[in-house]
Structure formats: C-alpha cells, structure tokens
C-alpha cells in the first residue's frame, strides 16, 4: 500500500469512527428524549433506508431490476431470529449471520439468472420470493409457519438502527466509488460496451446482487427485532414494491436520495393516519374513513406521477453532500460561495 493509500485508508477509518460514534450518541439522545411514537417512526425510517440503499445498489447502480428483496429480508429476519431464540447466540452474531445467509441465497438466485439478458431477473426474483414464502409457511417446526413467529427479542433500539444505517451508507458509498462501483455503473449504462472493454459483466452483476441481498437481509433482521414478530405475509410483494418506490422517489443511483425517499415513503401512511384521526375527531367521519383506506391510492398515484413527470426521482442521481449543502446555504444567503447547486452531475 502506498503512502497515499494508507493515508486515505486512515482518513476513511476516522470518518467511519466519527460517523459510528455520532450515530450512536444521536440515536441514544433521541431515544431518551423523544416520545415512543417518534422514535418508532425514526427507527422505521432507518430500517427502510437500509432497504432502499440495498435495492438501489442492484437496480440504481447496476441496472438489474429485482422484485424479490422482501424474500431476502425474510431470510435475514428469520435467520437472525432463529439463531437468537433457538441457539441463544448473541445479537451481533445472529444479526450479521442473517445478512450473510441472505447474501448466500442472493448468490444462489443471482448466479443462474444474471447470465440472462433482459428483465428476466425481475421475474426470477419475484419467483424466489414466492418460493421463500412457501418454504416459510411450511417449515412449521422452525419458523412457526402460518402462525408466525412471536417472541423475537427486541434489539432494534434507535441507536442500533441508526448505527446500521450509517455503516450501510458508508460501506455502500465506498463500494460505489471504488473500481467495482465504476464497473457496476458501466454494466448499467451499456453491458455490451462494458464487456468489450474487458469488464466481466456477469461477475459484477452477481457481486452487486450479493452485496445488495446481504444488506436487505440486515434490513429484514432489523425489522424482525423491531416488531418482535415475524410472519411470512409481512414479506410479500408489496414489501418489495415499497423498497422500489423509495428508490424511485429518491432517485435511482443516488445513495442519499434513497434515504430521502425512505423518509417520504415512511411518512406517507403516518401523515394519512393522522389526517384521518383529525378528520374523524372534528366530525368528518366519512372523510376520515376515506383517508384511512385511500392512502394506498395516493401512494400508487405518487408512483405514476413520479415516473411520468420526473422519472429521475427527487434527487435525480445526484448526491446530497456537505459541500453541496454549504454552497446551497451560500446561495440562499447570496454570499460569495453561492454557485449553482449541485455544480456537476
């Protein structure tokens, strides 16, 4: 490793340490001060952000459409819960094992299907999810089958969730900016051209898929340890669509965009629920009922309007960076540093 390389490595580690400590301290502070309702929402935002980031890597950066991420979440969630409950393993071990097992399954699913051209991956991963649900529903001794698995230990405190989110973001942003990440983008832009300059497209597609399913597994494990209950139906088609919609809203190929999207999508049902309660309270019972049932229509419309009017999402493949924020603030203040934000793509 060259001097420059080791310097950059040390700087990277420092950044990670600062982020980890910051996330833990901030998470603990919020957990201690905010009411349960808000910490719950914040935890969901963190879990959903991990999921959105994982889906973004495989679809936003590598251009492979996956519709089975709920399947990988289920694998991660159940593995972690079973290891902890049955084998009494410590949380950290079972949590990471959940991710690793999901990654292994990601390899088994991705390896055959990623050699194919076109959108076949979408349908194979969707199929994988249905196979997964059938397995979970029928291995009653291990997973509780259709009755679900209650009594998963509660471990997803806000600090844990925010720490996982920060680490995921840090790792994925390093992956994306590495040589491998450039190859992912090359595969997405034009896989025939990528192949002709010597990039092993299948290798990178499978690699992206494995990394993505690993993080989806972690997200699933977080979810299981948060709700303390797992059921095959939690991980259905709609759950996969949820991560898709978060990324679409935030912007395909933008890591910070995924988090923005996750925040919005997590808040939509909450906003509607509160509006509905408010409407019922002031006497508009019918409007309240409609809002309670109608948020999914709003959600679907949001999906369509986004795709037709702004297919690149809110962030459009750009990242939210400190430098960008600073120049944005400068722009508002009309100061010297006020340049167009963001200055480049």
């Amino acid at each position: 490793m060259s001097v420059n390389g080791s310097k950059a490595f040390a700087r990277g580690l420092t950044t990670l340490a600062v982020l980890v400590v910051g996330a833990w301290v901030l998470g603990s502070l919020l957990q201690a001060t905010l009411p349960n309702y808000f910490t719950g929402i914040l935890t969901f935002v963190a879990i959903n952000s991990v999921l959105a980031l994982s889906w973004n890597l495989v679809s936003g950066f590598t251009g492979q459409f996956s519709l089975g991420h709920a399947g990988f979440m289920a694998v991660g969630g159940y593995t972690s819960a079973i290891l902890m409950v049955r084998l009494k393993l410590p949380f950290v071990v079972s949590f990471v094992s959940g991710g690793i097992f999901a990654g292994v399954l990601g390899f088994l699913v991705g390896f055959p299907s990623l050699r194919l051209a076109g959108d076949y991956l979408a349908i194979v991963t969707l199929g994988f999810q249905y196979i997964m649900l059938a397995v979970l529903n029928n291995t009653t001794d291990l997973t509780g089958g259709g009755l679900g698995m209650a009594g998963v230990p509660f471990r997803t405190y806000l600090p844990v969730a925010s720490l996982t989110l920060v680490c995921t973001l840090w790792l994925l942003s390093n992956v994306v900016h590495s040589k491998q990440g450039r190859c992912f983008v090359a595969v997405k832009e034009d896989d025939i051209a990528a192949q002709s300059v010597g990039i092993n497209t299948t290798y990178y597609k499978v690699l992206a898929f494995i990394i993505s399913s690993f993080f989806a597994g972690l997200g699933g494990a977080l979810l299981g340890h948060f709700t303390m209950y797992l059921h095959p139906d939690i991980f259905n088609y709609l759950k996969s669509i949820e991560s898709v919609s978060m990324v679409i809203l935030g912007g395909l190929g933008s890591l910070t965009g995924s988090i923005v999207g996750a925040i919005c999508i997590t808040l939509v049902p909450e906003v509607f629920r509160n509006l509905a309660t408010l409407a019922s309270r002031i006497g508009l019972t019918e409007a309240g009922d409609f809002l309670r049932r109608g948020w999914m229509v709003f959600y679907a419309l949001l999906f369509l309007i986004m795709m037709l009017a702004r297919p690149k999402g809110l962030m459009g493949g750009r990242e939210l960076t400190w430098a960008g924020l600073r120049s944005l603030a400068g722009g508002f203040a009309g100061g010297k540093g006020g340049r167009q934000w963001p200055s480049s793509k």
């Binding site: 959108d119 059938a134 029928n138 898709v244 419309l301």
Partner: protein, 294 residues
C-alpha cells in the same frame, strides 16, 4: 388411473387460464419489450366489471361477460395511451416502463379496494354446480368445461387473426423490428393499440372465468398474473404457441404436484420450473434466442 385423469383435467382447466394470460404478456413483450406488470390487474378489473354488470345492472351473464371483454380491452388500450405511450415517445429505458406498469397495477388494485370493496365476492350462480361425469373415468365441473372451451376458442381466433389478417401480420412485423416496420408504412400506434386490446380481452376472459371458479377479490390478478408470466417465459417469451404450451405445462404440473407431492408447495412449483428452464434453455421451450443489438 382415475385420479390421474382427474388431475389432468383439472390441470387443463387451470392451464387454460395461465395460457390466456400468458399470451397477453407475450404479445406486449413482443411489441414493446417490457414486462407489463399491469396485465394481471386487467384480469382483476375484468372480474369486477362483469360482477358489477350482473349484480348492479342485472345483466344476463352472456352480456356481462361480453361487455367485460370489450371494456377491459379498452381499459388496456387506455393504460397504454396514458401511461406507456408518453414514456415510449420520450425514449425512456424499459426499466421505467416496467416500474410504471407496477404503479398501474397498484393503482387498479387499490382503487378497487377504496371505491368498491376489499371483500371477497362469490360470483352469481350461472352454471349448475353438479359435475358432469365423463364415462366413469373422471368428472368435470361445468365451469371448467366453459373455461377450457372459451380459452381454446380465443386461442384459435388469435391464431387466425395473427396469421391471416393484415393487422395481425403488422403486429408480427412490429415484434420483429419496430423501426423497420414503421419505415414500411405500418401505423405503429394503431398496431400497439390492437395488441393491447387483444391482450386485455384475453386476460379479461381469464379473469371472469376464474372469478366464477373461485371468487372475486382485489388480489385475484396478483399471483395468477405472475405465474402466467412465468408460463410465458417457460414457453419462450415472444412465441404465441410457446405461451400456450407454457401455460398448460405449468397448470398441469401444478395440479399434479399438488395432488401427488404436497399441496403446500403448489404456488412454488411454477417458479421452480421457471428457474430450471432458464438454466438449461434461457430462451424458453419454443422461443428463439433474443439477439442483442450493439
């Protein structure tokens, strides 16, 4: 032997449904090259249209059925006009079309839940529920007979349309090469509208008939749609006979698997078959290899 024949007949009936829906996926994939996830929801939509026709408008079954074929065909065209055509004209990547079609399917399902009901409906009784005995070998419920009959009639009609009419040949040309077809003076938008109409009608027939066989609920199209897509891929997407073959293959294997192995894994059989076929013959049983263009 008796049980085997019985399972085979059941498989043929359910396979007819898969084949009818699969051919819609193949047609749309052929002309636009994307997986139309909204196709399954046309099936749900059609079941509700005929249900509405019979319950609220008190129409006789034949009129409600025929009406739902036309309405769903037009609905399918409308989806193409409003959602896919703008993207197609922008030259958006196929991924965007795919995501849009997911949005359409979400919209249809949830609009039904919000404006109609999330309840399961039992279809009004049209046919007698007593089964017809086939010479002691097997029995068949009348609804299965109707299902298979309608499916085969529609398949034959489609075969004639695609091969012996001017518009059918135009659609084939479009599937072969859209730009070249446009240069030859084919009205692309009209041909695509025809394709969507046919796909919608066939899905509609499937929807009404499985609504009669089981029940009508907002999620009817979900699993049926996905399995039918698997059928289209197994048979070779882009090949019309291939999607019939795939549909019947998956229908028969599924009922056989449920009957002889375990009914718990019934829903997984189609996807296991899909992965196996993709491993050994990626273009499907009757499909031609997709030529990638540089």
């Amino acid at each position: 032997m008796k049980e085997f024949t019985q399972q085979l007949l059941n498989g043929l009936a359910i396979g007819s449904v898969y084949a009818l829906v699969a051919v819609g996926y193949t047609l749309v994939f052929g002309v636009l090259r994307f997986i139309n996830f909204a196709h399954g929801s046309v099936l749900t939509f059609a079941a509700y249209v005929s249900l509405f026709g019979m319950l609220a408008l008190k129409l006789p079954f034949a009129v409600a059925f025929g009406g739902s074929l036309v309405v769903s065909g037009l609905f399918s065209i409308m989806v193409e006009r409003q959602a896919y055509r703008p993207l197609r004209l922008q030259g958006a990547p196929n991924l965007n079309l795919l995501i849009t079609s997911i949005g359409v399917s979400l919209l249809v399902e949830n609009a039904i839940i919000v404006f109609y009901s999330a309840d399961f409906f039992v279809f009004p009784k049209v046919l007698s529920s007593s089964t017809i005995s086939l010479g002691g070998v097997a029995t068949i419920p009348p609804v299965d007979l109707l299902l298979t009959g309608v499916a085969i009639t529609l398949m034959v009609l489609l075969y004639v349309f695609v091969n012996y009419t001017k518009m059918g040949v135009a659609i084939q040309a479009l599937a072969y090469d859209r730009d070249a077809a446009a240069l030859m003076g084919i009205n692309i938008n009209l041909a695509i509208a025809y394709t969507f109409f046919i796909a919608g009608t066939m899905a509609s027939a499937a929807g009404v008939l499985i609504g009669m066989k089981f029940n009508v609920n907002p999620y009817l199209g979900g699993l049926f749609g996905v399995k039918s897509f698997a059928a289209a891929v197994v048979g070779g997407i882009g090949s019309i006979p291939g999607s019939y073959l795939g549909g019947y293959l998956i229908g028969i294997l599924e009922t056989m698997g449920a009957g002889y192995v375990s009914s718990n894994y019934k829903d997984a059989i189609a996807f296991v078959l899909l992965v196996l076929i993709l491993l050994f013959k990626p273009s499907g049983l009757l499909g031609r290899g997709l030529q990638e263009k540089v």
